[in-house]
Amino acid sequence: MLRRLKRRELGATPPRSVATHVRGKRVRSIELASHKEIVSAHNSGINSLQIDGSEARYLLAGASDGSVGVYDTQQATTFDSITHTAKHEALFTVDKSVPQGHMYSVSSVQWYPVDTGLFVTGSFDNNINLWDTNTLQVEQQFRMPGKVYAVAMSAMATTHMLVASGTEDVRVRLCDLASGAFTHTLSGHRDGVWAVQWSAASEWVLISGGCDGAIRFWDIRQAGCFQVLDQNRSQLGRRPPIVKSVPGATASVSGSSRGESLRVHRQGEQQHSRLNTPPPIRRKFRAKDFEAQRQHPGMVSTLDKATAHYGSVTALQTTDDGLYLFSAGTDSRVRLWDMQSGCNTLVNYEATRIRTHQGTQLAVSSDSSLLFVASAHSIQAYDVWTGHLHSKLSGHYDTVNCCAFHVNDQELYSGSSDRQILVWAPPAHTPLEDLDEKTKEGGALFVKDEDAWSD
C-alpha cells in the first residue's frame, strides 16, 4: 500500500491506478457492516433502493406497505457507543397518509438525476408519483393502465426529463415531467414490462425487459425498437470492433439510408422474414389488426420474437461505462450482453435463485468487477467477467428484493422482504478487541467473544 502511494508520488503509476486498486480491494472485501446500520422505518419488505446520483448520499427506499423513505448514508442520526454502530434512521417517510400517496406496494423508486429535490415512485396502485423532497407532497401523478413495475430516468439526459415506465400493460410509456403528459408509447412487448433502464451511453436509448422474455432497445427519437436481444446470438471472446457500429444504424429496417448493415441487423431481418409467413399469434385480440400494424415501419420489430431469457426479464442493469448490460430472468439466469453488438457474451453466472414474481434490482460495482445479484435470502457477488461466485453475502432472513451499490464508499445496500435494509461494507477500522474493551466499560450484558471453557 505504502509502496503504491510512493510510486504514485513519484509519478511512476498513472493517476487513477491507486484509487482504482484501493477501490477494487475494498469492493472485494465487502461484508456485513457492523459499524453502520440503517434502521428501517418500513413495516414491510423493501422493494426498491436507489442512491441519488447528484451527491451519492441519500438512499431512497420503497416498501411494500406503500411507504417511501429516505436515509442519509453519510450522516448517522444516532451512534450506539456500546456496539459502536452508527444508526441511520429515516430522514422522512411518505406513505398513504399523504394526499395522493401510494395505496399499495411501491415497486420502484427513482431519484431525479439532477438533484435530490424530486423523486419518482411507481406503485402497484397504477400510479407514478413525482414527489417534492422538501414539501413531501405529490407534485405530479401519472395514471398508468396497470400496475407499475419499474420506473427509470436517464442519468445523463440533458435534453429531456422523461420517466420510462414498465407496467402490466405491454406498452412502455414515457412520462414527461416537464409537461405532465405521456410523450411516447412504445409498443413491441407482448406482455407486461418488469424492467426498464436507460442506456448509460446514450440519453436517447431505452432498454426494456418484459415478461415475454424479450429485451428491447428503443431509440426514443424514432419509431419502434431497434434491437431485440437474442440469447442464442452469442459472441465469445472479443467483441467486433466498435468503429463500425453506429447506434442509429442498427435500427433502420428500411435500409435505404444506411448502406452497410451489421450482422445483427441482417440476422434480425432473416428472422423476421423467416417468422413472417406463419404469424405466431400469441394474443388473439392482436391478430385482427396485425396486418395493419405490420405496415407501420415502427412496428416491424414486434415481429421479432427473439428472447433474452426463458421467462420474464426481471432486472436490467448497465455497467457504468454503458458498454455492457446485465439482465436477470425468472429462468434464474443472469446474462451479460454486449450493448454494442447485442450479443450474449455467454458468461455463466453460477447458480442463482432470482425471485420470480416481481422485478428485482441488480447492482454492479463501479469498476465493473463485481456483480451483486439478489438470490433468495442472500446476495451473491459474482466476478463480472468470469462469472465465478466471489462471495455470498447472507444476513437477510427473507427474500432479498433489491440492492444498490454506493460508488464512492464501495458499500452495498440491500433491501429484503424481512423489511431490513442491510449495509454491506468493507471492514471498518474499529478492531474487535478495542470494541470489547469499550463494551466492558459500558457494563453491558454481552460478553467478550472468546472461548469460555469452564470445564
Binding site: 435470502h377 444476513g395 454481552f446 470445564d455
Partner: protein, 709 residues
C-alpha cells in the same frame, strides 16, 4: 488420534441425542465438552455432527442437539463462527418459523424445541449479538418482522431489579431524613428515658426494703426477685375493666403467699407512680427506641460512619435497659390495660413516630381513668358475680393461658367458707356484654377506643363523653325467650294388633281423635264424677252419640255403663266389653254408610258417562253430516243422494268405533296428507261439476232463447 476423536465424538453425540429425556446426561455432556475442547478440529467435527443431527426428522433429537449446541456455542468461539453463517438454517430447523420448514414430530417436543430455541436465540443475542451480526439480525427478524413472542427473560429481570432499586432509593431517602432528625433529638430523648429509668429504680427500692439482703446480687437480679415476690399483689391492685381481670385478682388473692408484700395504703402511691412509668416506658420509650434501631440499622449515611456506630451502640444499650425494666415491671404484674391496646402499641412500633404519640396519649388517658373507676365499682359486687365469671371464662376465648391455669387451680380449692355458701345461692348468668361494665356508674370517653384513625372529615372531639346512664342503656342485659320443654304424651289409643298408639300429637291424634288420658290398656280414664253429672243428658242421645260422634264415643260409653250398672265399681272387664261393643257398632254403621255412598257415586258416574257418550255421539254425527255437506252438497248446490251421505257417515262412524279398541292401533289413521288429497280430490270434483253445470245452463239458455243467442 484424529480418527479416534472423531469416533469418540460421534459416539458421544449419538448417545447424547438418543435419550428420550428432556435434559442431557451430565456425564456424557462432560465427556463431550472435554473432548471437543481438546482441539479446533474436534470443534469442527462436533459442529458438523451436530448440524447433521439438527436436520434429523425428529424433534426430540433436534431438541437434545440444540442443548448440546448451546453448550458449545457459549463456550467456543470457533463453534460460534461456524454456526453463525448457518444461523438462518439453524433457526429454521429449531424454530420452524416458515411453512416449508415445520418442526417434525413429536409435537410436544416440537413445542419445547421451539421455546427453548427462542430462549437461546434471545440469550445468544444478548451475549454475542454485538460480535455476530447475523445472530442479532435473526433475533430482530423473529421479533420485529415475524413478531414471535420471546420469553424476554432479561427484560423481566431488569425490570424487577429496577423497581427494587427505586424502592431502595426511596426508603434510603426517608431513612436519611429520619436519621438526621434522630441526631438532633437524641440527647433529649436519652435524658428523658434516663430519668424515667431512674424513677423506676427508686420506686423499686422503696417498694422492697426487705430486698436489701439481695443487694449483693446484681441490680437486675435484685429487681427480678422483688418482682417475683410481689407479682400477685400487683395483680390485685391493678385496675382493669374486664370482669375476668377481677376474677383473676380474686384467684390471686386466694393463692397469695403470706410473706408477699401487699399494696397497702402506704405504698399505693408508689405503685401508682410505677404504673405510670411503666406506661410511659411501654408506650413511648420502647417503640421509639425500636424505631431508632431499625432506622440506624437500615440507614446508609454517605459520611459519618463512626457516628452512626456510636449511635447504634447507644441505642442498643438503651433498649436493652428498657427491656430489662419492662421485664421487672411485668414480673411485678404491671401490664398494659387491654390486649388490643398492647398489640396496637406493638404494631405502632413500625409506624411513624407521630402517629404513635397521638394514639398513645388518648389511649393512656382513657384506660387509666376507666380502669380505676370500674375496678372500684366492681369490687363491691364481686362475690355475686363470682359464679357468673366462671361461666364467663368458660365461654370466652381467653388470651392468657396463665390466667386460665390460675383460675382452674383456684376453682379446685375453693370449697370452704362463706364464699362457698354464697356461691351456692348465686344466680347463674349467661355471658353478655353487660358483664363488662357490671356495677359501673362512670362516664366513658367516646372517641378514645384506641381504634380511630385520623379523621379527615373534621376534628375529632377527644373530650366527648358517653354518660353512664347511656352506657347502662347500651349494656342492658338481654335475655331471650326459651320455650319450656315439655314432653308430649303419646296417644295410647288401643290398636287392632293389641298395642297402643305411640303417636305423639299435641291435642289431637289424626287417627284416634283427641288425646285423652288413658290407662295402660288404652282405655280413657275420664274423671268419673263429671261423668255421673252428665250421665242423664248423655243417656238420651246415646245411640246417636255412638253413631255420629266418634270423638265422644269413648267417653259416652262410660256414662252408659255407669247408668246401666247400678254399681259404680263395675268391673273393668265388663266396661271394656261394652266399649268394644260400642266401637264395633260404630264401625259397622260406618261401613254401611260408606258402602251406600259408594254405590250412589258409582251410579251417578254411570249415568253421567252415559249422558256424555250420547252427547258426544250426537255432536260427532252432526259434525260428520255437516262436513260431508260442505264437501259435496254445498258445491253442487243440491242435496246429495242419501246413500253417499250415509256412506260418508258410515265410514266416519266406523272410524269412531274403531277409535276405542285395539283395532284402532292396527288401522292406519288418516294423515294430513290423506286429508289434503281428499280435499283436493273433492275440489277437482267440484270444479268439474261446476263446469258441467254452467255448460248445461248455457245449453238450456240457448235452447230456451234461440233468437237471443
Amino acid at each position: 488420534m484424529a480418527e479416534g476423536d472423531r469416533h469418540r465424538i460421534t459416539d458421544l453425540v449419538e448417545s447424547a441425542t438418543m435419550s428420550p429425556a428432556k435434559n442431557l446426561d451430565l456425564g456424557v455432556l462432560h465427556d463431550f465438552k472435554a473432548i471437543v475442547r481438546a482441539s479446533d478440529a474436534n470443534v469442527r467435527i462436533a459442529f458438523d455432527l451436530l448440524f447433521d443431527k439438527l436436520k434429523k426428522n425428529n424433534s426430540q433429537v433436534r431438541y437434545l442437539t440444540l442443548l448440546l449446541i448451546d453448550e458449545l456455542f457459549r463456550r467456543s468461539k470457533l463453534f460460534r463462527s461456524l454456526l453463525v453463517p448457518k444461523f438462518e438454517m439453524f433457526m429454521l430447523l429449531t424454530i420452524g418459523y416458515r411453512a416449508d420448514y415445520t418442526l417434525p414430530k413429536p409435537s410436544d417436543r416440537a413445542t419445547l424445541l421451539r421455546a427453548t430455541s427462542m430462549e437461546y436465540v434471545e440469550k445468544w443475542n444478548e451475549m454475542f449479538g454485538v460480535h455476530y451480526k447475523p445472530v442479532h439480525l435473526g433475533y430482530e427478524y423473529l421479533k420485529k418482522t415475524l413478531r414471535l413472542q420471546f420469553p424476554n427473560v432479561r427484560e423481566a429481570a431488569a425490570m424487577a431489579e429496577r423497581q427494587r432499586q427505586e424502592k431502595e432509593e426511596r426508603t434510603q431517602v426517608l431513612l436519611q431524613k429520619k436519621y438526621e432528625s434522630l441526631i438532633q433529638e437524641f440527647p433529649d430523648w436519652k435524658a428523658e428515658i434516663q430519668s424515667t429509668m431512674d424513677q423506676m429504680t427508686e420506686c423499686f427500692k422503696i417498694l422492697v426494703p426487705e430486698a436489701v439482703h439481695y443487694q449483693g446480687a446484681a441490680k437486675e437480679g435484685d429487681l427480678k426477685n422483688i418482682g417475683e415476690q410481689e407479682e400477685e399483689d400487683e395483680y390485685e391492685e391493678y385496675g382493669n375493666s374486664s370482669l375476668r381481670r377481677q376474677l383473676h385478682q380474686q384467684a390471686v388473692e386466694e393463692n397469695d403467699l403470706p410473706e408477699k408484700p401487699r399494696e397497702t395504703g402506704e405504698n399505693a402511691t408508689i405503685f401508682g407512680t410505677l404504673r405510670d412509668l411503666y406506661k410511659l416506658l411501654m408506650m413511648r420509650h420502647l417503640p421509639s427506641t425500636q424505631e431508632w434501631l431499625s432506622t440506624l440499622m437500615r440507614v446508609d449515611p454517605p459520611q459519618e460512619k463512626q457516628q452512626l456506630d456510636v449511635f447504634l451502640k447507644e441505642v442498643i444499650d438503651l433498649r436493652s435497659q428498657l427491656l430489662a425494666f419492662r421485664k421487672h415491671c411485668e414480673d411485678l404484674g404491671i401490664e398494659l390495660l387491654e390486649v388490643g391496646q398492647t398489640s396496637k402499641a406493638l404494631t405502632t412500633v413500625e409506624d411513624e413516630g407521630e402517629d404513635d404519640i397521638i394514639w398513645e396519649e388518648g389511649g393512656s388517658g382513657f384506660s387509666f381513668a376507666e380502669a380505676k373507676s370500674v375496678s372500684r365499682s366492681v369490687k363491691t359486687d364481686e362475690e355475686v358475680t363470682k359464679k357468673a365469671a366462671r361461666d364467663v371464662t368458660g365461654a370466652s376465648t381467653s388470651n392468657s393461658s396463665m390466667i386460665e391455669q390460675k383460675l382452674t387451680s383456684h376453682e379446685i380449692d375453693e370449697g370452704t367458707g362463706l364464699r362457698h355458701e354464697l356461691l351456692k345461692e348465686a344466680p347463674l348468668l349467661s355471658w353478655g356484654a353487660f358483664l363488662d361494665t357490671w356495677g359501673g356508674s362512670s362516664d366513658m370517653p367516646a372517641n378514645q377506643r384506641g381504634l380511630q384513625l385520623e379523621n379527615h372529615w373534621g376534628k375529632v372531639d377527644t373530650e366527648a363523653i358517653i354518660p353512664a346512664e347511656k352506657i347502662a342503656e347500651l349494656n342492658v342485659r338481654s335475655s331471650y325467650y326459651k320455650p319450656v320443654k315439655t314432653e308430649i304424651q303419646p296417644c295410647l289409643a288401643p290398636l287392632r294388633n293389641g298395642g297402643l298408639c305411640q303417636r305423639r300429637d299435641l291435642h289431637r291424634c289424626p287417627l284416634h281423635g283427641p288425646i285423652v288420658p288413658r290407662d295402660k290398656n288404652g282405655v280413657p280414664v275420664g274423671d268419673k264424677c263429671k261423668n255421673e253429672q252428665e250421665s242423664e243428658e248423655h243417656h238420651i242421645g246415646q245411640t246417636k252419640n255412638v253413631l255420629l260422634d266418634g270423638k265422644n264415643g269413648a267417653s259416652s260409653s262410660a256414662p252408659r255403663t255407669s247408668k246401666d250398672g247400678d254399681d259404680l265399681d263395675l268391673s273393668l272387664a265388663s266396661q271394656a266389653d261394652i266399649v268394644t261393643q260400642a266401637i264395633a257398632n260404630v264401625r259397622e254403621r260406618d261401613k254401611v254408610d260408606i258402602k251406600r255412598k259408594r254405590e250412589e257415586q258409582a251410579k251417578a258416574k254411570l249415568t253421567q258417562s252415559r249422558r256424555d257418550r250420547e252427547h258426544n255421539e250426537a255432536v260427532l254425527r252432526s259434525a260428520a253430516i255437516s262436513h260431508s255437506r260442505q264437501g259435496f252438497g254445498e258445491a253442487i248446490g243440491e242435496n246429495l243422494d242419501d246413500p253417499f251421505m250415509e256412506d260418508e257417515g258410515g265410514s266416519r262412524g266406523k272410524r269412531r268405533r274403531a277409535r276405542g279398541g285395539l283395532a284402532a292401533l292396527l288401522k292406519r289413521k288418516p294423515t294430513a296428507k290423506d286429508r289434503l288429497a281428499q280435499r283436493l280430490l273433492s275440489g277437482r270434483v267440484r270444479d268439474a261439476t261446476i263446469n258441467q253445470l254452467t255448460r248445461d245452463e248455457d245449453a238450456n239458455y240457448r235452447e230456451a232463447f234461440p233468437n237471443q243467442w
